[in-house]
Every structure is written in C-alpha cells, then in structure tokens.
Symmetry: C2
Subunit: 222 residues, 2 copies
C-alpha cells in the first residue's frame, strides 16, 4: 500500500510519514516544491529502523497520483482550500483524509471554523459527493509522532459522511498502534478539530505538569 501525505514536509506530515513507514506503509510526501519533498524524504528514511517501508517525495499532484487509495491532507489551514482545489482532478477513486485544524492565525488556543463548520466539511463541500472526505488524526502532537520511541498517547476519533470510507481510514490509522473510534458524520469534526486548541492550551499551561497532551476514551471503573 502507498499513501500520500500532502503538505508532508511540515512537522505533522513528517511525523506521520515516519510512523506509517515504520508500520510498513509506503509513503509519498507531497509538497509544492517536489525537490524539497524528496530531500526531506531522504532525511526521514535515515531515521527509520530496518524493515520499514519507503518514503519518497514528489510535488503534491505527483504524490496524490502515486497513492493507491489514501491521500492525507496535512497543510496549514490557510492553504487548505487552495490545495484541495488543485488536487481535486487527481482524487477520483481515492479517499481524502483531512487532518487540518483551523487554528486562529492570531491565537492557537482557539479555532476559527470556516462557514461549512469545520475543515472536514469544507473539504467535502469543495470535493463534491464522489470523493469521500474523512477527518482523523487531528489531536496527535507532532512532537509525539516524531519521537519514534514514544507510543502515541491518544486515541483517534474518525469522522466523515461515508461509513465505508470511515472504516477504511480506521483500519489505516490502526496500523499506527492506536485505538480508533467511529465518531460519526463529518459534522463531528466541529468538535474533534476544536479539541486540538484545548490541548494546546493545556500544553502551554503552567498548571499542568506535562506537555503534548492527548485525549483518550476511557472505560468506566467497574
């Protein structure tokens, strides 16, 4: 299996590339600058243990074309819609996994949601009903992802209007050794994306004795 990570040269994209490659999933990093993506891919490969799958680099369109099925979108929100508009012709038959959180440019402790309600819903509106959009992986810290010695300290809430695509993405994300939960339709992204700035606030807080907070779904004590 080969997946694409669009905007894959940022910290979140790099961390996901490392984690997926270590789990045996081939990754093509996409960037506006394909040469930069190739260079970063080489750096990432050097960090991987023996037996990992490969990481290569391409421009965003080339990366999307190289993906069998899953195209992960990991750009800053400011580039979200423009990147998707350019990619749309290359997404037929694929699933777009949107991990983007619309953090306020002025304050990363709050979100500024688009008129559609969330990034995931904006992506679905832009791509139209034939390309399923699934929101996932919003709440995992890039620092955690990039430290391969750490286990990932959060569960992954997965949402989107296509139940079939949701299940496929839950299987994909499950390869990272995390627990995934079906969080329902795309509108659940209004909550899930907005958990990230709450975690950022907790990370910054002097009152909390740790950073890189995650969220977990917890069973009752009985």
């Amino acid at each position: 299996m080969t997946i694409a990570i669009i905007g894959g040269t940022g910290p979140q994209g790099q961390g996901l590339a490392l984690r997926f490659a270590r789990a045996g999933v081939e990754v093509v990093l996409g960037s506006r600058d394909g040469a930069r993506a190739q260079s970063i891919a080489e750096e990432l490969v050097a960090k991987l243990p023996a037996g990992s799958a490969g990481i290569s680099g391409a421009d965003n369109e080339g990366a999307a074309q190289a993906a069998d099925e899953f195209v992960i979108l990991a750009v800053p929100f400011a580039a979200h819609n423009a990147t998707l508009g350019a990619l749309k012709p290359h997404l037929a038959g694929k699933i777009l996994v949107d991990i983007v959180v619309p953090l306020s440019p002025n304050d990363p402790k709050i979100v500024e949601m688009p008129p559609e309600g969330s990034a995931t819903e904006a992506a679905q509106a832009l791509l139209g009903p034939d390309i399923p959009v699934i929101g996932a992986l919003h709440n995992v810290s890039a620092t955690t992802l990039n430290n391969l010695d750490w286990t990932i300290n959060c569960d992954i809430l997965v949402c989107g209007n296509s139940l079939d695509a949701r299940k496929k993405v839950m299987d994909l994300v499950g390869k990272l050794g995390v627990t995934t939960y079906n969080a329902g339709g795309a509108s659940a992204a209004r909550s899930i994306e907005a958990i990230t700035p709450i975690l950022i606030r907790i990370n910054i807080s002097k009152a909390v004795p740790f950073t890189h907070a995650g969220i977990k779904i917890w069973a009752p004590d009985h």
Copy 2:
C-alpha cells in the same frame, strides 16, 4: 457551601447531587415542581453514606436563591433558555454552571447547536455580562454519577469567558475527585458539548467493548 442544581431531578442532576453531597457540599435540587424535588431529595439522602452533606428540594427559583454562589443548570436543552430567563433575576452575584448539551431531538449521536454556537454561549448571551457562565461536566455519564461505587472515568473540561469564575468552578468540580482542565473561553463549549454525542455513539456501538465512555487528557509516554 450550598449549591443549587436546577433541573436536578433528572438523572444527571440526581447523580451530581449525590456526588457533591458525598463530597461535603450541601445541595438544593431545583425543579419546576418543588414538591417533586423534595421527594427526590429524600430518596437521594437515603443513598448517601454517613457524614455526607444534605440534599433538599425546592422550586427552581427557591433553589437558585438558596445557593451561596454556584447554580448548576441541568435541564434538557429544550428548556434551557426558558429556564434561564425565569432564573435570571435570582442569579445576581452568582455563577451559572451550564452542563447542558444541545443533543438533537431526533438523534442523540449529534448536536444541534443554537445560533450562539453552544449552550454555554447562549446562556451567557441571555444572562448578560454581569452573570458569569461556565460550561463544565458535559461529558460525564449519568450512570457513572449515580453509581457511587464507581470512580468518575473522565476529566472535566471547564470553559467560560471569566477566568476567575472558571477557576472557582474548577475548584468546585475538583471536590468530586476528578481532574479539571481550563479549556478557555466560552467558545470552547462548541467542542466540549459536542464530545457528548460522540461518547453516546461509542456507548451504543457494538464495536466497543464498554459503555459509559469518558474522555481523559493523557500525558505522553516519556
């Protein structure tokens, strides 16, 4: 200290009354029907261990008047605004703790947020700037609260525009033996309230081996 729980005869209100009374906080349950609140208060007192604080009942206005500082609103969302409108004259100098989740009347697995963005924001708009509204305790299951042998399997995210009131509510909720986190301004309630239907979906799901799910903030593994 005496707190009021408005709409306190529902399962969430009863569970909170038991938990606060056991923690030494006097509770006045409020209901539209004060006699019903008194009757349920008597039933709850019979479930409490020796040494607990008392639980009494009154109509909603009487309960709000009896509270030193904290008035918890635990009505169904359909009654949210009307209840607050009637209570407003009795809330001067107090803090309104809004635990209401605007679940869709047609599907408890999704929210239908009011135009203000969340129940907490709607309450703040209705009560005006002089009565601080704090959102909290949205995500804890009534079943868990009412089983006094169980520890509460979630952390409590606390939000609202007054930092001072937020801290006071964090202290109050902390008496229940849970960890509280400062989740920021009232707009964070758009995310926090909407976590509840995600938990309800997980509780219903045959794929998840437990019910009464909670969320916890989790430290990284290092």
